[in-house]
Subunit: 316 residues, 2 copies
Amino acid sequence: VADFKIVDSAVLQPGEGEFLVRGHFLSVDPYMRGLLRPKVHYLRAVEPGDLMFGEVVGEVIESHHSGYVAGDYVAGHFGWQEFAVSNGQGVRKVDPSLAPISTALGVLGMPGLTAYFGLTEVGRPRAGESVFVSGGAGAVGSVVGQLARISGCRISASAGTDEKIAWLVEELGFNNAFNYKTSKDYHADVQRICPHGIDVYFDNVGGEITDAVMRLLNRHARTVICGQIAHYNEDKPAPGPRPFPNLLAHEARAEGFLVFSYSRRYNEALPRLADWVRRGELRYRETVAEGIDQAPEAFIGLFQGNNIGKQLVRLL
Amino acid sequence: VADFKIVDSAVLQPGEGEFLVRGHFLSVDPYMRGLLRPKVHYLRAVEPGDLMFGEVVGEVIESHHSGYVAGDYVAGHFGWQEFAVSNGQGVRKVDPSLAPISTALGVLGMPGLTAYFGLTEVGRPRAGESVFVSGGAGAVGSVVGQLARISGCRISASAGTDEKIAWLVEELGFNNAFNYKTSKDYHADVQRICPHGIDVYFDNVGGEITDAVMRLLNRHARTVICGQIAHYNEDKPAPGPRPFPNLLAHEARAEGFLVFSYSRRYNEALPRLADWVRRGELRYRETVAEGIDQAPEAFIGLFQGNNIGKQLVRLL
């Protein structure tokens, strides 16, 4: 928390071709940890003193841009701030009649899109297959499991509290889940809840849960490497059993996945996700921290698993 | 060597629908190590007292099978023996006018097919890309590099002697190679010989060479996990840096590959390989041990890298 500093500054005025946004919700996401390192591969690093990177959903309150009027709801990478001026680049409009606007940062935003494209494009589950998702109660994992359920798969997960597990199994229709914080043997627990092995592994965490899953892959299994939260605070990956001999023996595939590479296809996925949400087939939960001064703690809490579903920070 | 025993026994007589083969060459291959363990995934295990598994090329010397006559050359999994009776199952005929029959166990046999399907189906190199092959001077690796060269790629490799490296670079047209047995820093050496990173990694060895390569992958790189010879004598994989964070950052794929899954397509690849051999674009080398009593030593020598190119045992 001490690495973050909240500063007061004057609200900028939008110039010609720009508009001013009043943020309602800020998203904190595990991937942002990587931005705080010198070497980042897919996004620009955040340097000490910089505005912290992050997506915000809010309302346009003043506009000198032909495409936006006051009262429009928008989502964009405005950073950790309550007000922002934008020229519209990278901004998308949010329809508040579809669902609460906070969902534009969760199930109908980056995490939902991550689940959708990661599962369908890399995991490619077929009906009847066994899907395991690590971090099942997170913003991405909870959507992955429900999309796999909709695809007719058997779906199992790891999660960090009994409350999370109850939510997954009783409300979201997961077949089973185990509590990795009280587990004495990951391999035995994954084997118990995946008695027919694993065809698709959606990996949000890495580390020892992934080590256990690698021993339980079925032939031609696919691993979607979506997040490695167990490793984000390491300077270099801690050693573990090498997974390639297991991938070889099972002719299995593991593939890194970054949702940003699918940005041109977001509009293909969002209506489908919204439709499932409207019909109650895709449920979500939000954990909301109150006020921007809580943002650092909310962010750091992601790495202890303090959130259920999507972690947000309320700005207004 | 003490784990193997050579026994004399009477040559069996072929019955109706069978033929007798006199073996000329026996193939010893690293994958056979896995057959000597209790748990094997893709082939039947060899138990103590069993005939050791292995492919042989030889001549039919007596036939009561309508499809074979004395004088035919055939290749099949006849095991480590000088004579074998077969009903033709899993046997293919070998054309001695195409190339020396020993190539049916190497460049025009399983190792050549492994290189062909592993590279084209899993690695999918495009002209101009950078391909790295570990175990470059082995029966598979030497073909991989040449096929990548034919595809217009830049090709680098690891190998275990300066003689092997000279062969790869001066005779086979590899762009570069480094000696992993004298290297002080795998990562620095791989980086030196692959200055533009790695687009396709054909992994025959696993272990620390693979660890080094994982840090040098380009975006959307593909790793063909074909062999893990560094791990075949381990009861469980020795720990190393976990590769998934690297695969994630580069949206890279790693996929296990077993050539046996492509057996229905062997006839598509063999004429192409034979054509390249005939035109001198695809060269090969053989290391031949003399006599079946040398087979155990030749087999064990694979794990020390004693062979250049294909390791054979001459039976006749």
